[in-house]
Symmetry: D2
Subunit: 401 residues, 4 copies
C-alpha cells in the first residue's frame, strides 16, 4: 500500500498555514474503536482547518503481526506492542486510549505522568475508584498544561451539538423532562458467546457502562445539569453463555454483567430524567433516543436517523405547531461548514472527526476540552449510584459529588 | 332536531334477527367521556351485527336544562337529574358511568345493588378502598348474573387488539421489555386553571390516574401478566394555578395532584417494565406509546398514529429485517370486518363502539367482559404502589395482591 | 358533575334548538359509499350544531329484501326499490346518489327536475357528456333554489381543509409544484375478479376515475386554480380477469379500464402538476399523497396518516427549518371544534360527517356548496383530457373550458 | 487487548498485503465533487481490502495557488494547472474528471487516447454528441484494456445496492411502477446568483442534468431495463438572476436552464416510470426518492434517510404485512463488511469510497466497471428525449438506441 497519502495537515486555510505545527498522536487499541478513531485522525486535517496537524505516530497492540498490519491499514506510521513504549515515545504528544475499560486507568495515569495529553474512550473506567484516580491525575497534569478528554463522541453528532446550542439559547425554556433510551439487540440470541463485554472484570458493567454511560452523559450535557440521584433496576436475562470459541451448545460461563438497566432520576434543576438501556431489545440496532421537554419547546433525536433533529416550538401558534424535522446539514449547523451541501448526510464516524477537531483546537489554545476526565468521573458516579440503587431495592440514591 | 334517526338495532343480520332484544342503557355524565360513549352506543348497532340492541334510555346530570339538551343532542330518550332515579328505572339494564372518579364507587355499587350491569370509566376509583368495594360488589353481583367492565378503551384500538393477538400467538417469544409512555402537554401553560382534574379530592391523582391507569392497563394486558412491584417518582411542576373562572393573574389555589410520574417495575414473568406519564410534555398531544421487546420479535405503537402497528420479526433474515408498518385496516384485523376497506383509517372514538360491541356480546352470552372491575382494582393497586414508592424514596414496592 | 375542562359538544348553540327544521334525505345505493354516507347523516346532528336536521327518509336499491335490511341497519326510515319512487317522495328534499357512475346522470337530472337538492358521489359521471348534462341541469335548478354537490370528501379531511386555509392565507407563497399520487394495491392479485369497477361501461375508467378524480380535485382545490392541460399515459397490466363468481382459473373476461395512470400538467398559474394513480402499487393501501411547494413554504399530506399535515415554513431560519408534523386535532382546526381533545384523531368516515354538515349549512343559507356539479364537470374534463392525451401519444392536451 | 466482539476492518485479508501494487490517480477539478472524490481515494484503502493501492498523484485546476492549496489539503502529492499535463504524467494511470460537464468530453477523450482509465462525474456530457464521442473513445480504449466509469455514485449507497440485489433476486416480482423524484430547494430564493449550473453552455441543462441524470440512472439500474420513451415538461420559474458577484438587486442575466422537469415513461419491460426533479421544492434538501412496485413486493428509499430501505413483501400474510424499515447496516449488506456495527449509519461521502473500491477491483481484474460510458451515454439519450418531448408539446419520444 502506497504511503503517498500519509496525513499532511491542511495548511492552505488561513488559520492553518503550512507551518501548522504537528501534534504527535499515539493510539492504544485498534479494534472497533481504534478503527473509528483512526478515521477521525486521518480525516480531520483534510476537512477542517486546524491549528495543529495531527501526526499519527504509532498504534499499540499486544500481537505484533496484527498491530503492524493494523498500523499499515489504518495509517499509523509505526506499531508498538507495549503501551509503555508507546507513551514513552518523544514524538507522541497525545495518547488516545481505545482499549476495554479495565486498562483505561493504568494507561491514562501513566500517560499523564509521562506528560502526554490523553483522550480516553468511554466509559472512563470500570470503577469509581479508577475514575477518581484518573481525574486526580488529570487535575495534576492540568497544572502542567496537559489536557484530558473522554470519548463521549455522540456530543459531536451535529444534531446533538445543535440541540445543545438550542437548549443553551433558551429555546426550550425550563426543562421538565429528559428522556433517554439506548437500545440494541445483539444479545437477544442466547448463543452469542461470552465476550469480554459480558464479563464484569473486563467491562465493569454491561449495557449500563456500554450504553448507559452515553445516555447519562448526553442527558446531563444537553440539560446542562447533573443528576442529583437515581432509582434503578438492572437485569441479566441470559445468565450464561457459550465460552468464546465454543459451539452454541458447548461449555458455558456465567454472564456477570447486566443485559439491561432502567432508571429514573432528578437533575439538580428539578427536571425528571428517565433512562433505559438494553442490549436485548429486538429490532433496535443502535437506537439512542433523546427527548427533552421544556416550558417553551421540546427536542427529539434518534441516533438511527442521526442527521435529523426534531424540534417543537411551543411558542408557535397551536394551529401550525408540531415537531419539525430539521435536517442538520446546513452550513451553519455545528461542524457542517466543513462538509457537504444541505441534505447530504453524515455518518457515525464523523463524530470522531469532530472529536479530533475539537481536541486539537483545545490543545492549540490551551483550553479545557469537553467532556473532561472530571466529567467522565461524574458519569461513573452516576453509574455507580445506579448499581447501588439496583442493589438496594431501587431506593433513590444520591450521586456522590 | 328530528328523532327519526333514533337508534334502532340492526336486525337484518343473521345473528341479530329483528327480534334482537333490546338492552336498556342509562348513562351518568355527559361531558367528554359521555359524548364519546354516546357515539359508541349510537353507532354500534349500525355497524356491527349484535345479539342485543342497545336502547339509549336516559342520561343523567345535575343541571336539568343542560342534561335535557345533552339528551336530545346525544340521542338519549330521556334525561334524569338524579343518578339514583336513573338506576331505579326499570327500562335501564346497564348503567354506564362517565363521571369523575370521585363518584364512581357510590354510583357503581348502587347500580349493582339495583341489579344492573355496569360499565365504569377509568380509573375505576380514586382510592384502592373504593375500588375494593366496587370489585366486591361486582363479585356479588356476578353471582346474580350481572356483569361489570372498566373503560380501558385503548385495548379496543384495532392495532392494540391485534398486538394482543400477536403476543398471545407467541410472535414475540418471551417478553424482555415493556415500555409505555403516555405524554400530553395541556398543562404546560401555568395559566391553565385549577380544573377538577387537578384536585386530588375529585381526581384521586393527576397524570398518574388519568394517563398512568391506561399505561399500566395496556402494559399488563398486552404482556398477559401483572406487575409484581414498582419503583417510582412523581412531580408537580406547577404547584398553584388560577381558580376556575379567575383570570390568569387572579386568585390561585394549590395543585394537589402530580403533573408527571416516572416508574419502573417488573412483571411477574421477570420482564422489565418502564413507564412515564406527563401532562407537561410540550408537543405531545396524546402520545400513548407502547413498545414490547421479546426474544422473537418486537411491537411498537403510538396512539397519535393509531391505525399503525410496527412489528419487528426477529426470525426474519437479518438482511431483510426491520420494523414493518402494519396498517391495521385489513378486514381480518380485530373489529375491522365491520368498517371500511384497507387503508381507510379509524379514529379515537371507534374504541367506544368496539367497547359497546364487546360488552353487548358479553351480556348476551353471560360471559365476563374484559377488563372487569377486578382488573380495574388491580390497576388501582399498581397506582397505589406507585404513589407509595414515590413517597418512600422510590423504594421498590410490591403490588398488593 | 363537573365538566369544566371537557370539550363537550356545545349543548346551548342557538342554531341547534329542538326547533331546527328537518331536511328529508333520500339515498340511492347502500354499498360501501352508502354505508359511509349513512354514517355521516346519522352522526352529523349528534356532533355539530345544525340549522337543519337531516331526516333519513328512505334508501333505495333494486333488491327489496336487501334494501329493507340495509334501511334498518343503516338507520333509514323506509326502503324503496325504484329510484324514481324515491325522488318522487314529498318527504325527500335532498337526494344522495351513491351508485356506480353509470347511473349518476340519469338519477341526478331526474332528481333535479323533481325539485330536489342533489349530492352525488364522485366521479360526477362516466363521460363528459353526462357530466355536462348534469351541470346544465344543476344550473337550471340553481335558479329554482336547488343546490348540488359532488362527493369529493377528502376536501373535508381536517388536515386538507387546514391546508386549503394555509394556501389561501399565502403561507406557501406562489406555488411551483403540486404533486399528487393516489396508490392502492387491491388489483395486484391477478385472481381478483372482474368486478364492476373493472368494466368501462359501468365505471367509465379505472384508477383514473376512481382515484384520479380525487387526485385532480384536491390538487385544483388546494392550488385554487384549474389545470390548463395534461400529458398522460395509462396502462392495464392485467388484461383479463376471472368473471365474478368464477374460480381464479375459471372463465375470464377482458379488463376494459386502466390499472394505472401517470400524467403531468400545468395549472393556469404556471405551476407544474404531477399525478400518479394506481391500483397495483403493492403495499400502498389508500395512499393519497399531496405535496405543494411554493416560494414561501410547502405542505405534505398522506391519507394513510390522515390526522397529520406536514408544513415547511421557508421563512423560518435555516438552522431551525424543517417539515413540521402538525397534528390537525386542535379545536380551531377545521371541523375539530365538534370532536375530541387534541391528539385524539379522527378517521376516514368523518369526512362524510363534515360533508353532510357543510351541505346542510349551504341548504339552510341558500349558498352554493363546494364542490358543485360545475366543479365535478371540470374534473371530468381533466380526466377526459388525460385519456385523450394517453391515446394521442401523450401529446399535451388542453382541458376543455 | 481483546477484540473478539469487534468488527474491526479485517487486517489479514490476503489481497491487501503490503505488496498491493499502486494505481496512480490524477484528478481534474477540486470543488465539491473533487473534495468528495478525494475523500473516497484517501479512505478506500484504510477500510477495504484492495488489490490495488490508489496513489493520489496529482490534482489539476487552473488557478495555481488554489490548486496547490487544494492538493495539500485534500491529500494529492502534486498539483497541475493544465489538464493536458496531468494526463501526460506517467505516474497517473487513472484520470478522475470532476469538472463541470462542458469539459468532460474533451478531457475524457484525451485521457483515453493517452492510455488512461477514466472515471468521469455525471452527467457524462452536456450533449448526446459529446457523450457519443466519449462512448466511442471508451469502446476503442476498451480494446486496449482501458476501463471507463461514470460517477453515478448513488448506486453505491448501501441501501440502493441492496435494493438492486433484491430486485435481481426476484423479491419484487415483475415491476409495474418505478417512481423517482429528486427534489432540492436551493434555487427557491430569486436572489441566488447566476452560477455556472444555471447557464446552458456550462451545465448543459438544469435540474434535468444535475438531478435527472441520477434519477434516470437509478431507475434504469434498479429496474434492470432502459426507458423506451418519455413524455416531458420542463420549466424555468425564475428566468433571470443576479450575475455572480453582483448584489441581489444588481445586474442580472438570463437563466438558460430548467428549474424543474416532470416526465413519465415506459421501460422496455412495460413498467410505467415517473420522474420529477426540481431545485425549487421548498424544504426538500436532497430528497432523491425511489419507489418500485412489483407483483411480489415494493421498495421505497429516500436519500435524506440514506441508511434505510423500506421493503414491503407482498407475499407476507395480509395481517402482518407492511413496509419494513430495514436499517442497511448489517455486515452482509453491500459494502458494510468494512464499516461499523449494525445501526451505525454511513453518510453521503461513503458512496465515493465504494465507487473507488469497485473501480479498483475492476481495474485489477480487467472487468468492466458499472456504470460504463455506454451507460452514461444511454442516460444522456434519455435526457435528450426528455428535452425533445418538452419542446414538442410533451409528445411521447422514443429514446434513441
Amino acid at each position: 500500500m502506497s504511503n503517498e497519502t500519509a496525513p499532511a495537515p491542511a495548511p492552505g486555510r488561513p488559520e492553518q498555514s503550512g507551518s501548522a505545527p504537528p501534534l504527535g498522536v499515539g493510539m492504544v487499541g485498534y479494534a472497533f474503536m481504534g478503527a473509528a478513531h483512526s478515521q477521525g485522525w486521518r480525516t480531520v486535517g483534510r476537512v477542517f482547518g486546524l491549528p495543529l496537524a495531527p501526526a499519527m505516530r504509532a498504534v499499540c497492540g499486544r500481537d505484533g503481526d496484527a498491530v503492524r498490519s493494523a498500523a499499515e491499514r489504518l495509517g499509523w506510521s509505526a506499531a508498538e506492542t507495549d503501551w509503555r513504549a508507546l507513551i514513552a515515545r518523544d514524538d507522541v504528544h497525545l495518547v488516545d486510549i481505545c482499549t476495554p475499560g479495565e486498562s483505561h486507568a493504568e494507561i491514562a495515569v501513566a500517560a499523564l505522568e509521562a506528560g502526554k495529553h490523553v483522550l480516553c474512550e468511554k466509559p472512563l473506567a470500570n470503577t469509581v475508584a479508577e475514575a477518581e484516580a484518573m481525574a486526580a491525575a488529570a487535575e495534576e497534569a492540568r497544572a502542567r498544561g496537559q489536557l484530558t478528554m473522554v470519548g463521549f463522541n455522540y456530543r459531536r453528532t451535529p444534531a446533538l451539538a445543535h440541540a445543545k446550542r438550542m437548549v443553551d439559547e433558551g429555546r426550550l425554556g425550563e426543562l421538565r423532562h429528559v428522556r433517554v433510551s439506548y437500545l440494541q439487540d445483539w444479545l437477544v440470541d442466547p448463543a452469542f458467546p461470552l465476550a469480554w463485554r459480558l464479563r464484569r472484570e473486563a467491562a465493569g458493567s454491561g449495557a449500563l457502562g456500554d450504553l448507559g454511560a452515553h445516555a447519562v452523559d448526553i442527558a446531563q450535557h444537553l440539560a446542562g445539569a447533573p443528576l442529583a440521584g437515581v432509582s434503578a433496576q438492572t437485569e441479566t436475562f441470559v445468565t450464561e453463555r457459550p465460552l468464546p470459541g465454543q459451539p452454541p451448545d458447548g461449555e458455558k460461563g456465567p454472564v456477570t454483567v447486566d443485559d439491561a438497566a432502567v432508571f429514573n432520576g432528578r437533575l439538580t434543576t428539578g427536571a425528571l430524567a428517565s433512562f433505559e438501556v438494553s442490549r436485548v431489545a429486538a429490532g433496535r440496532k443502535n437506537a439512542l433516543r433523546v427527548e427533552l421537554n421544556g416550558t417553551r419547546g421540546s427536542l427529539d433525536f434518534d441516533l438511527e436517523r442521526l442527521n435529523e433533529l426534531h424540534f417543537h416550538d411551543h411558542t408557535d401558534a397551536a394551529l401550525e405547531s408540531g415537531f419539525r424535522r430539521i435536517l442538520v446539514t446546513e452550513p451553519d449547523h455545528p461542524y457542517l461548514e466543513a462538509w457537504w451541501p444541505p441534505g447530504h448526510g453524515l455518518g457515525y464516524e464523523h463524530t470522531f472527526v469532530h472529536q479530533a477537531r475539537d481536541l486539537l483546537h483545545a490543545v492549540a489554545t490551551g483550553t479545557d476540552p469537553e467532556p473532561s476526565f472530571a466529567d467522565g468521573l461524574q458519569v461513573q458516579r452516576v453509574l455507580a449510584a445506579v448499581e447501588e440503587s439496583a442493589s438496594k431495592n431501587s431506593a433513590y440514591t444520591a450521586v456522590a459529588g
